[in-house]
């Protein structure tokens, strides 16, 4: 055979092989769904899970006693009934019969009690969402198995949102976890959910395999793809079915690809400009001015939120009138319109007229970088709107985790600061608990209006849902009129979804695939 012919045939064979390989690479199997995540998974230890991505995967491995639907409804899962004691400190769950963990061990009330007590055990030094936020918020005391099917969760005090927070707990079996060290539990989850962990290549992918209903796919592959453009490329090329955290600049590319589209949902994260009302802020430039509710109300008219959303987020945002997510928000309040003339008049009336230099007062606006979608540009846009009504705004942008966050916790940021806090759909009170007490860790503004804080006692004593709702609306009116937030928007979330599957994104950042299916 001549060398040239051999060479040509070899090249052709190589090209054919490469094409087949590429084609094989690009085809997703019908029994699997592939999700591209932006952050790595660090653990499958139920007591250590804290990030949203980690929680989304873990929820497929570990079931909860009850679940929250995408509309915020509280529905049975491992348990089918919940009874709450008169004084609100004892929650008794009755499990369904015939439950098992992935290793075949029967899942009984003893295992549920073990789950709660193990997570809360200070010896284990867990720092995840469950022992940290959930147990602290509900005032968890202990859990006791009353019999094979009934478990009692004891709280220190009555809490109207405990039922929703308890859904966050990942139920696992006692025998399996007693046989493991804490290190082993990190990478060997033995859960109670629809899927079990088939493989985990750190930094690369997590593969789950179906063990029981619900779930329409035999396998779920979670791929870790930190770079946004790479995630988008994988979606468009057909190598991923769903990607999270699509950046606004790539929405058009995805929608034009013909292979996928972007689902935009109004998330539950409340984005706001906080007015720091602490004594320390009062000493800062502009700090005295914002102590006056009239000034805060004036500034509500100064920022063109719809334009910010359209230009910087590429969507029409859900506007905020307070800190409660719709549809649980006040039914009659409307977002403050963009009306700089009104802002100017109100500022004049509040005694802060423009000086000869056109400035009413100077003020500092602080924010963290790269935490929220397009946050830096949004902060700069807000500062410009405030400058247009006569404020001399100094913008101070800083690294989020170890520079800005400590300031927040120390209440030494501001006087203006940009922040977003997660909320929910299942209870307005959950959203309102950011300001449950003046001294709450999440009352970053240190607002102390008695018209708000004194009503919490009334809320706790309310006898009927109608009474509760009435109190909530009154509180929200106060928050709308004289509150410590300049109401912005609920952060939109962007999911890229391939045309191959039928899946609807949730507003609460939970990526659950139990009902996803092939089209």
């Amino acid at each position: 055979m001549k060398l040239r012919t051999l060479g040509a045939r070899s090249a052709a064979a190589g090209f054919f092989g490469a094409t087949v390989m590429v084609a094989a690479c690009s085809q997703l199997p019908e029994d699997a769904i592939v999700v591209g995540l932006s952050a790595d998974i660090t653990t499958f230890e139920p007591g250590m899970i804290s990030s949203r991505d980690n929680a989304n995967i873990a929820r497929h491995i570990f079931a909860g006693l009850f679940s929250l639907t995408s509309e915020g409804d509280h529905v049975p899962n491992l348990a089918h009934t919940l009874d709450i004691s008169e004084d609100g400190t004892a929650y008794v769950y009755t499990l369904r019969e015939g439950l098992t963990c992935h290793d075949g061990e029967a899942l009984t009330a003893e295992d549920v009690a073990y789950t709660f007590n193990r997570i809360a055990d200070p010896e284990n030094r867990f720092t995840g969402n469950s022992p940290g936020f959930v147990f602290t918020s509900i005032g968890f005391q202990d859990a006791v198995a009353l019999d094979d099917l009934r478990v009692q969760i004891n709280l220190a005090r009555k809490n109207p949102i405990a039922f929703g927070l308890i859904t966050e707990i990942y139920i696992h079996c006692k025998d399996a976890y007693e046989a493991m060290t804490l290190d082993e539990a990190t990478s060997n989850p033995i859960g109670s959910g629809s899927y079990r962990l088939a493989s985990w290549t750190r930094g690369s992918e997590v593969v789950l395999e179906k063990t029981r209903e619900p779930g329409n796919f035999q396998r779920i592959v979670w791929r870790i793809i930190p770079e946004a453009s790479t995630r988008t490329a994988e979606l468009i090329s057909g190598n991923a079915d769903i990607i999270t955290n699509v950046v606004p600049e790539q929405i058009e590319a995805i929608n034009r690809s013909g292979r996928a589209e972007v689902q935009v949902v109004s998330g539950t994260r409340r984005m706001y400009l906080g007015f720091s009302l602490s004594e320390g802020s009062r000493q800062m430039p502009g700090g005295e001015a914002i102590q006056d509710p009239r000034v805060r109300r004036a500034l509500q008219y100064a920022v063109d939120v719809p334009t910010i959303c359209r230009q910087l987020l590429s969507v029409e945002c859900e506007r905020a009138t307070g800190l409660v997510n719709p549809p649980n928000d006040h039914p009659n309040l409307t977002p403050y319109p963009f009306d700089p003339s009104t802002a100017e008049v109100l500022l004049d009336e509040a005694g802060w007229s423009r000086g000869t230099d056109g400035i009413r007062f100077a003020i500092r606006l602080q924010a963290g970088r790269a935490r929220y979608v397009n946050d830096v540009n949004i902060v700069l846009a807000i500062s410009q709107y405030l400058q247009d009504v006569g404020l001399d705004v100094e913008v101070d942008l800083m690294e989020w985790a170890s520079v800005y966050t400590p300031l927040l916790h120390a209440r030494s940021m501001g006087p203006l600061f940009f922040l977003g806090t997660g909320g929910g759909l299942w209870s307005p009170i959950y959203d309102m608990t950011d300001l449950a007490e003046v001294g709450s860790s999440t009352n970053y503004t240190q607002w102390d209006d008695d018209r708000w804080f004194s009503r919490w006692t009334d809320l706790a004593d309310a006898k009927t849902p109608e009474e509760t709702r009435s109190i909530i609306d009154e509180m929200l009116q106060v928050f709308y009129d004289d509150g410590p937030w300049l109401h912005l928007y609920f952060q939109p979330d962007f999911y890229g979804v391939s045309n191959r599957i039928d899946w609807k994104a949730r507003r609460d950042e939970r990526v659950f695939l139990f009902e996803a299916r092939l089209k």
Binding site: G17, A18, M21, V22, C25, S26, D40, T42, T43, E45, M48, S50, R125, T127, N129, G132, F133, T136, S137, L182, D183, T186, S187, T201, R202, G203, S204, E205, R223, I224, I225, P226, E227, S229, T230, A233, E234, I236, S237, N239, E399, A401, S402, V403, T405, P406, H409, T421, G422, D434, S441, T442
Partner: protein, 315 residues
């Protein structure tokens, strides 16, 4: 080496502020924050944290990763094979292509070949690796769909585990997944080495012994390979050790762009997370590899250059 590397990385990470807040939820209470700070050991004075780490290190204990809650060195070693595959592939591109391109440019000096190769080399040294990576993803991965966009298929891991069948079966896909990131990482080195081979060869071709070899009527290819190149590529050998270190630095960004699960990406995430034990374990490992490689290169250089042996003998 250990003290220097760990001290620098420790101080650099601490300069970023209190890392506790990275490990608590946004709604964490002050009590919860303090409990986490104590659980992670961040409540101790800085010198105590550092000395405690060094003390454990002396006993072979690199500590636990704060993010993964597993031994830090274990996690780093898990990611090492992927980075070795990428770095070796990039080095292969950088060396195997640089030599023929450099020769071509040198022997066709002043021609269009020389001009083109030199221009491409300058471009290769100018373009940022992350930009090149993204452009290749768009063109070869998305537009042409010739190559995979992200991910990795392991070859070294099954090989080291003795599973030769899986390793060989994976090899074609391993190479496929290495092509784009390998080019992104290796382009700068390829460009630099091409220019180095070219200039070194041009210098050698002017030497008397090369003129003598030509005068003896030897074929040009023999003059080039047997006489000129043996001396021309000594500078390239010299920088191979440094090259490896440079490539290791380059993989950090490229591994992130291509979602390649190597040490670079692991360290990048660990730095953002202020996972101090993980960063220090990774940095110590990479520094150790770098030093060992340079030692190896020095030994190879002695074998390649008899003048070094003579100098040793006189010494």
């Amino acid at each position: 080496m250990v003290i220097g590397v760990t001290l620098v990385s420790f101080l650099a990470l601490q300069a970023g502020g209190d890392p506790t807040y990275l490990f608590v939820s946004e709604r964490a209470s002050l009590e919860e924050i303090e409990a986490t700070r104590q659980a992670l050991g961040f409540d101790r004075p800085l010198h105590e944290q550092y000395l405690s780490f060094v003390g454990d290190l002396a006993q072979g204990d690199f500590g636990q990763s704060l993010s993964y809650r597993q031994p830090a060195m274990e996690i780093v070693l898990e990611a090492l094979p992927a980075t070795i595959e990428l770095t070796l592939f990039s080095m292969a591109i950088a060396l195997l292509l640089a030599i023929p391109l450099g020769i071509l440019a040198a022997i066709h000096r002043g021609t269009a070949w020389d001009g083109s190769i030199t221009t491409l080399a300058m471009f290769g040294q100018s373009v940022p690796s992350f930009w090149l990576g993204i452009m290749m993803i768009l063109f070869f991965g998305l537009y042409l769909r010739w190559l995979p966009i992200s991910g990795q298929v392991p070859f070294l891991v099954p090989l080291m585990e003795g599973d030769f069948g899986t390793a060989l079966g994976n090899l074609p896909r391993t190479i496929f997944h290495l092509i784009l990131p390998g080019i992104a990482v290796g382009t700068y080195s390829l460009a630099r080495n091409t220019r180095l081979v070219r200039s070194s060869l041009l210098e050698v071709l002017e030497q008397d012994y090369v003129r003598t070899a030509r005068s003896k009527g030897l074929p040009e290819i023999r003059v080039l390979v047997h006489h000129a190149l043996r001396n021309a590529w000594l500078p390239v050998v010299t920088i191979i050790g440094l090259e490896f270190g440079f490539l290791l630095g380059g993989v950090v960004v490229v591994e992130t762009v291509f979602s390649y699960p190597g040490i670079g990406r692991l360290l990048f995430a660990a730095i953002n997370q202020r996972d101090i034990p993980l960063v220090q374990a990774g940095v110590i490992l990479l520094a150790g590899i770098f030093i060992l490689l340079n030692l190896l290169v020095d030994l190879i250089y002695v074998r390649l250059d008899p003048r070094m042996k003579l100098a040793e003998g006189r010494g």
